[in-house]
């Protein structure tokens, strides 16, 4: 038999029992739509979770702190100290998936002087590895990225407005830097052209000590990143300079806690989220407690996983019911057509053709059900997105963060997958009935009146 003829006979049979076919298809539509909607809820949940987290920062950055907390098996917080030193940094550099590692040191006791007259005092300066700077994803609005060993000073977008002449008294800080309408006044120094140096200082017994001046080779302005406040309010310098200022400061204050080569914070930039997770696991094995947003993501995902399983289960159940519906329809149809099938066998219709005919019938039911199921789920998804609140579902809301996001997302692959899936469900449901059809006795069929 030609495939075309098998198809047209199968379709003819479906058309003959329009109502029954229609009802069976409805079963599949509901089943398919249920599964699609449930999965779409899960996808939307994960998406809103990821949105929430990436709003909080970069998932590929892992932060190590000297003072860390861990939660033990009983759920109690445990104090823990990590030893963060150059040796560890070198070790981490060699791990797979690490793009960049740098200690983050910071100093408040500093002043930045521009053109000798204008000063910026007490702004926190972060010291970071020159090479790591670019790799951590910082961008410059003005200036070039530093090379290894170069000294640099990069200003957050809000910082360089604050240069002022320290000899002039200030009556009102707001008026000093802002217009009455709240917009910042133009900076007093054009740092792109200014001659700039940094120095440390310390207050001791009411006396101000000033330290060595450090010239910088590269000056730049950071490009502001939406979810990183540091690009706005911080200043970055090369770690060597900051370390020098810190050790001078420690000496002046007789601070014995300061140990050169040890850091309070080390940050790691991973190639992607998966490597970030791997790196964290490796560090845990090394006895280092880490903090990364992916930890948070994991625990939230775990919470959502259970909910998604339940939703998926409900969807699957309704599709199973639909599958039974298809099988039932096929059995009924074979029962009705016993004689016809027997006659066809006597007339020389091959067993494989009979089987294909029934499999096509059931697959077509599945296919059509799948297509309309997709349509129905789009409608359901649209209505849910319109009338439901995303934070009422999923755990992102539980963390007190409400992001504007969809309740239900149906990606194209889900559409494709569900149509294929319901067709396959139809095929499977039709399999046993089709085998039964091929076993119908030709003799019995022509004997019975």
């Amino acid at each position: 038999m030609k495939i075309k003829d098998i198809f047209s006979m199968a379709l003819g049979n479906l058309m003959r029992r329009k109502l029954r076919t229609f009802l069976t298809v409805i079963g599949v539509i509901v089943g398919a739509a249920a599964i699609i909607v449930m999965i779409s809820l899960g996808i939307a949940m994960n998406k809103s979770l990821d949105d929430t987290i990436s709003e909080m920062g970069d998932l590929t950055i892992i932060e190590l702190n000297t003072y860390a907390y861990t939660i033990d098996d009983n759920g109690n917080y445990q104090d823990k100290r990590n030893l963060l030193n150059d040796e560890l940094v070198e070790k981490i550099k060699k791990l797979d998936g690490v793009v960049a590692v740098s200690p983050f040191v910071s100093v408040y006791e500093n002043k930045i002087v521009a053109n000798r007259t204008y000063e910026l005092q007490g702004q926190e300066i972060y010291g970071i590895d020159a090479e790591a700077f670019e790799q951590f994803g910082y961008e410059l609005e003005y200036g070039d990225f530093p090379k290894k060993g170069e000294t640099f000073l990069f200003f957050g977008t809000d910082t360089y407005y604050r240069f002022r002449n320290p000899d002039k008294p200030v009556y009102d800080y707001f008026k000093e830097f802002y217009n009455t309408d709240g917009t910042p006044k133009p900076p007093k120094v054009d740092i792109k052209k200014a001659k700039i140096y940094i120095s440390g200082f310390s207050w001791n017994d009411e006396r101000k000590y000033e330290f060595k001046k450090y010239n910088v080779q590269k000056v730049g302005i950071l490009k502001q990143k939406e979810n990183d406040w540091m690009t706005q309010y911080s200043i970055f310098a090369d770690i060597e300079t900051v370390n020098k200022i810190l050790s001078e400061n420690a000496k002046a204050n007789n601070n014995r806690d300061f140990k050169p080569g040890e850091y309070n914070t080390v940050k790691i930039k991973a190639a992607d989220i998966n490597s970030a997770e791997k790196i964290q696991n490796t560090l845990k094995e090394m006895g280092i407690t880490t903090y990364g947003l992916s930890d948070m993501r994991e625990s939230m995902q775990k919470q959502q996983g259970t909910l998604q399983m339940i939703l998926g289960g409900i969807g699957a159940m309704s599709l199973i019911v639909a599958a039974i519906g298809i099988a039932n329809t096929m059995v009924m149809s074979i029962y009705e057509r016993t004689k016809e099938i027997g006659v066809m066998k006597v007339l020389g219709c091959k067993l494989s053709n009979i089987k294909s005919m029934f499999l096509i019938e059931s697959s077509v039911i599945g296919f059509i059900g799948g297509i309309f199921g997709v349509a129905l789920s789009y409608v359901a998804s649209f209505l849910m997105n319109k009338f439901m609140n995303a934070s009422s579902l999923g755990s992102a809301g539980n963390f007190g963060i409400v992001t504007e996001s969809a309740v239900s997302i149906i990606p194209w692959w889900l559409v494709l997958l569900s149509v294929v899936f319901s067709t396959v469900v139809g095929l499977i449901s039709g399999y046993l009935p089709s085998c039964r059809a091929t076993r119908i006795s030709a003799l019995e069929a022509i004997k019975s009146e």
Binding site: K2, V346, K350
Partner: protein, 265 residues
Amino acid sequence: MSEPIIKVDNLRKVYKLGTQKVVALDNINLEIYPGEICCILGTSGSGKSTLLNMLAGLEKPSRGNVFINNSSISQMSEKELVDFRQKYLGFVFQSYNLINSMTALENVTLPLVFKGKNKNFRVKAAKNILKTVGLSSHLNHKPSQMSGGQQQRVGIARAFVSNPSVVFADEPTGNLDSKTTDEIMKIMLDVAQSFGQTLVIVTHDRDIASYANRIFYLFDGRICYDLHVNKELYGNREDLLHHIQEIFDTEKQKISQSKENSEVE
């Protein structure tokens, strides 16, 4: 003479009903040659249908073999049998067995559809044969819109459309009146003879048997007479019928005598 197209070798069929055994056919040996119009004649329950079903491979014999075109169909699997039927055999049924949802034309094209012929060929062949059986004006009628005689003509057209070597017919006129029976028989014979096909008809009606040129008389599951009819010997059908009557009467007498004898012994 040429090779027989159907050869039956020591065929036996026993039905088991619980502990009881029913010997439906026993010791059947026959050879049918291409182009013969055969009739299996016998009273009700003599095993005619059983024999036909076995000749056509619809039922397995308890013992013995059936060969068609030198292939032993008794040894074939279900799948092989279907293929074989598709290639070589045609069927006409007492109750027509048309597909109710299909038109006359569609019903007739069915065997060609199964053979995988393309649509143009199918429709042309079906229209041709429907014309031969005189149904050109009923191509698009569904079975429910036709009389019994018309339905059986569709059935005949369907049996012959794929040009099979052998056509089997079990009581093809069983549901028809005598006038229509005559028409149907003539059509069947015409078609079969014009294409040189072999026809095997089962009937209990001697009238119908008189159309054949070979008559097997079946009694109690045995062939007790194998009559080659030389049509030229008889002036008309009445004479032939009379002859058949004579033969069967003597046969019956013989059988009952032998039974009495065996009982006496």
